[in-house]
């Protein structure tokens, strides 16, 4: 019993000798910074998305044919006159362009108020083998505000 008490006391003295509060704090800091870094990196792998212009997207598809059906975002202009709305089924189809490449988009959901056929949009979704971008979210840029209608 006594010996145990002696040993544990000297172990804790030794521990306190090595583990100055500054050092302990440094260890905790490294732990926190490390876990923040881990959270950021793992989150990036799961939820990070490429952001393309239409011509960058066509380049990417040319060099990496496996890119179909991968979540990504495309920033482009809506081609004037290409918007086709079906209110009853809440489906909107339109084409987006950056001048050199053009892609058709199908979006099922409620488009933001600011969406029309002359705005810049950010389309979030996947491009399928049929060459159509199936959007899950459309952000329209207008005057001074972006508007978003994420789907649940």
């Amino acid at each position: 019993m006594y010996a145990g008490g002696y040993w544990s006391a000297s172990v804790s003295r030794l521990y306190n000798g090595i583990m100055k509060p500054g050092l302990k704090f440094a260890i905790f800091t490294v732990l926190i910074v490390g876990s923040v870094g881990y959270l950021m990196a793992s989150g990036l792998k799961q939820t990070g998305q490429y952001f393309f212009t239409p011509s960058e997207l066509s380049q990417k598809l040319a060099t990496d044919p496996t890119f179909y059906d991968v979540g990504m975002r495309v920033g482009a202009r809506v081609v004037p006159g290409s918007v086709n709305r079906d209110v009853a089924s809440q489906t909107i189809s339109f084409r987006v362009t950056d001048g050199s490449a053009t892609y058709p988009v199908i979006y099922r959901g409620i488009a933001p108020d600011t969406f029309n056929d002359s705005v810049e949009v950010v389309v979030e979704g996947r491009i399928q083998r049929d060459g159509i971008i199936h959007a899950t979210d459309v952000l329209a840029k207008c005057g001074s505000r972006y508007e978003s209608v994420p789907k649940a």
Partner: protein, 677 residues
């Protein structure tokens, strides 16, 4: 009037340059004549800029559409209430607003600073003038930036384009100026920090001089962010209040670093530690406030609520790099003067828990900054842009936020220097039990969502610590001085505003955490309904809400055509009430449509949950409507939590608390002396 306005801008530009020059020279050489001249320039700058603001307002109210800014942001049929707010609705006007408010703050700093802190004022005046001059230079060198609000057109339009309908909301009238006031007022603490560095007066005195200013800008930022959330929720119609959009993040970043500063400054006052860290936080907060303006104005990051993309962004970019370089260079030169007076003694102490709090706040700020800049960083290093959205920000920041909530409970109660086991038991036995019991109760009630359960459990822990503190304080006064309970409660605040006001802020924060946890239980459904048809949705509390479409009505209002759709709401078969949601098409004086249509959300709010109904569209030529119905639990608490945070901030700031700061500083000094013996 525009001639007078342009002239005022030029005079202000020269006055600012003069104030900066004489302030720096006077401060460096100790020349009282130059210092006086600089001070006068600061006052004159403020006066001249107020004249410029009056000129712009006169042009707005007179509908002088020959002025480009007036034509771009107002129209004849715009309600008067929104006409004056057009001052900061556009980029040019907001630059003028910014410069003017900064000059007012600069003048107030000169006028209100206590005599014993006046040694800092020459450089403070110089720095505020310099920053103001930068904003003025953006406006006066209009041939490059196109940002002079007084610019005239070659012709006079019959009517203006009008204000964007989304900005024609009561919330929008106060949300941007609140955020601006927050951003702008950080300049004063920054100026004092730079002045302390330049004068080498780096004891705790400059911290006392800026205490009210840091609280003020923190309060403005808090209110501005809350109003922004409210506006986004009511106006944008996507059913949430925070989307981690770059512009939202830009307002959140300085708030985080200012919050960190408000905590770590206590460690410096009491123990003489963290001097470098505190200076870094102030400089960083100010740079982040400029950075916020930079990304909102430049359009360098896609998916920003960007104002018109213009060269103004490059002005800000250059200024940001210049300011960061100069301030960190001076900071680096003074580092040897910033050694700590004492060391961290134990990990189980208030110092250590405040350090963790700071580490977490700055950690969150770092992740938010990283996520916001990711598209730029990845394009720089790999050539393709990678973006992250809300899921990433949530996955990183929810764990950090919960850890922060834990320290919100621990920090204020744990002993300074070194905490003993009896101390820990005395302070935390009851709160920890309350937290654990809450978690068990939630699990027993069938809640299995990890983060909300932890959040509510931690909130219960923090809540109990706050109640315990108030209970102990009040009962001690009751016993010792024989005061009635109510009087003791009031005196508790009066005698120690910082501490008990701080607890009120914490109370608001934990309410916000609970409200954010409620967001995890949001449920929604979309439906296309004919009149008489209905859609049902099950709320997280287990009730069934039924929405019955009653019909569409169309009518004209002041400056818009309205299409309104009404639903009857019933809960478990019992009628609750009617909710109306609108599509609005704004029109000009001739009845021609202006801007895209906007949506008015129908909201029914109570303490448990919000019913949130959006009219997505009407099928042409019929009364068939497309709706989105959302049930948002606990949203009510976001607004009330925010108000409690602001109330707590006001209590801390309320004048008359200065003597306590001095007493505390002295007490801290006594501790230091004892420690040295």
């Amino acid at each position: 009037m525009t001639l007078l306005g342009s002239l005022a801008l030029w005079v202000a530009f020269l006055l600012g340059a003069w104030g900066a020059l004489t302030g720096f020279l006077g401060g460096a050489r100790g020349r009282t004549d130059l210092i006086a001249s600089s001070r006068h320039a600061v006052y004159a700058l403020c006066g001249v800029l107020l004249v410029a603001v009056v000129c712009l307002e006169v042009a707005l109210f007179r509908h002088d559409f020959n002025v480009e800014y007036v034509a771009a942001y107002t129209s004849r049929n715009l309600p008067i209430f929104y006409t004056w707010s057009a001052l900061y609705a556009g980029q040019k006007g907001s630059l003028l607003f910014w410069a003017t408010v900064l000059s007012v703050f600069g003048a107030l700093a000169q006028a209100l600073t206590a005599p014993r802190h006046r040694v800092y004022l020459p450089y403070v005046g110089a720095i505020t003038s310099l920053v103001c001059t930068f904003f003025l230079s953006v406006m006066v060198f209009s041939s490059i930036s196109h940002s002079n609000p007084f610019e005239r057109l070659a012709y006079t339009p019959v009517d203006g384009r009008g204000l964007n309908p989304q900005l024609q909301k009561p919330g929008m009238v106060f949300h941007p100026p609140m955020l601006y006031l927050g951003y702008i007022s950080i300049t004063i603490p920054f100026a004092f920090a730079m002045s302390a560095l330049l004068t080498k007066r780096l004891d705790a005195d400059w911290l006392v001089a800026i205490r009210k200013w840091t609280l003020l800008s923190w309060l403005f930022l808090s209110i501005g962010i809350c109003l922004g959330m409210w506006w986004a929720y009511v106006e944008l119609g996507w059913g949430g209040y925070w989307a981690w959009d770059p512009v939202e993040n830009a307002s959140f970043l300085p708030w985080l670093t200012m919050t960190a500063f408000l905590h770590s400054v206590m460690i410096q006052e009491k123990r003489g530690m963290l001097k470098k860290w505190n200076l870094g936080l102030i400089i960083g907060s100010w740079l982040l406030s400029i950075f916020g303006t930079f990304i909102t104005r430049s359009g360098v990051i896609a998916s920003v609520h960007s104002f018109t993309e213009s060269n103004v962004g490059y002005f800000f970019g250059v200024f940001l790099v210049f300011a960061a370089t100069v301030s960190f260079w001076i900071y680096a030169k003074r580092l040897p003067l910033l050694e700590a007076d004492s060391q961290l003694e134990s990990m189980v102490s208030r110092e250590a828990s405040f350090l963790f709090n700071n580490l977490l706040l700055v950690g969150i700020a770092f992740t938010v900054l990283f996520g916001t800049l990711l598209p730029i960083l990845t394009e720089l290093f790999s050539g393709t842009k990678v973006t992250v959205k809300a899921p990433w920000f949530n996955s990183v920041n929810i764990p950090l936020g919960l850890l922060l909530l834990l320290f919100t409970g621990i920090g204020p109660l744990i002993a300074w220097r070194r905490s003993s086991v009896p101390n820990l038991k005395r302070q935390f036995a009851v709160p920890a039990t309350a937290g654990v019991l809450t978690i068990l109760a939630l699990l027993a009630a069938g809640m299995r969502d990890r983060y909300p359960v932890i959040a509510i459990g931690l909130a219960a822990f923090v809540f109990t610590t706050i109640i315990q503190e108030f209970w102990r304080g009040v009962s001690a006064r009751h016993r010792q001085y024989g005061e009635t309970w109510l009087l003791a409660f009031g005196r508790l605040f009066a005698r120690n505003r910082r501490r008990y006001g701080g607890y009120v802020v914490h109370l608001g924060i934990l309410i916000l955490f609970i409200a954010f946890a409620g967001y995890a239980f949001k449920t929604e459904t979309e439906a296309t309904l004919r009149p008489g048809e209905s859609a049902s949705i099950r709320s997280p509390y287990g009730w069934t809400y039924t929405f019955t479409h009653l019909g569409i009505s169309q009518y004209q209002a002041l400056n818009r055509q309205v299409t309104a759709a009404t639903v009857e709401v019933s809960r478990n078969g019992k009628r609750v009430g009617l909710l109306t949601t609108e599509k609005r098409q704004h029109v000009d004086a001739e009845g021609n449509p202006t801007f895209q249509p906007s949506t008015e959300v129908g909201i029914r709010s109570d303490m448990r949950e919000d019913l949130y109904v959006v009219l997505a569209g009407v099928v042409n030529g019929s009364e068939q409507a497309v709706y989105r119905f959302t049930i948002n639990p606990l949203v009510w608490w976001v607004w009330y939590g925010g108000m409690i945070v602001a109330l707590g901030g006001l209590i801390v700031m309320w004048p008359g608390g200065g003597s306590i700061t001095v007493r505390r500083a002295q007490a801290g000094y006594a501790v230091k002396l004892v420690a040295k013996e």
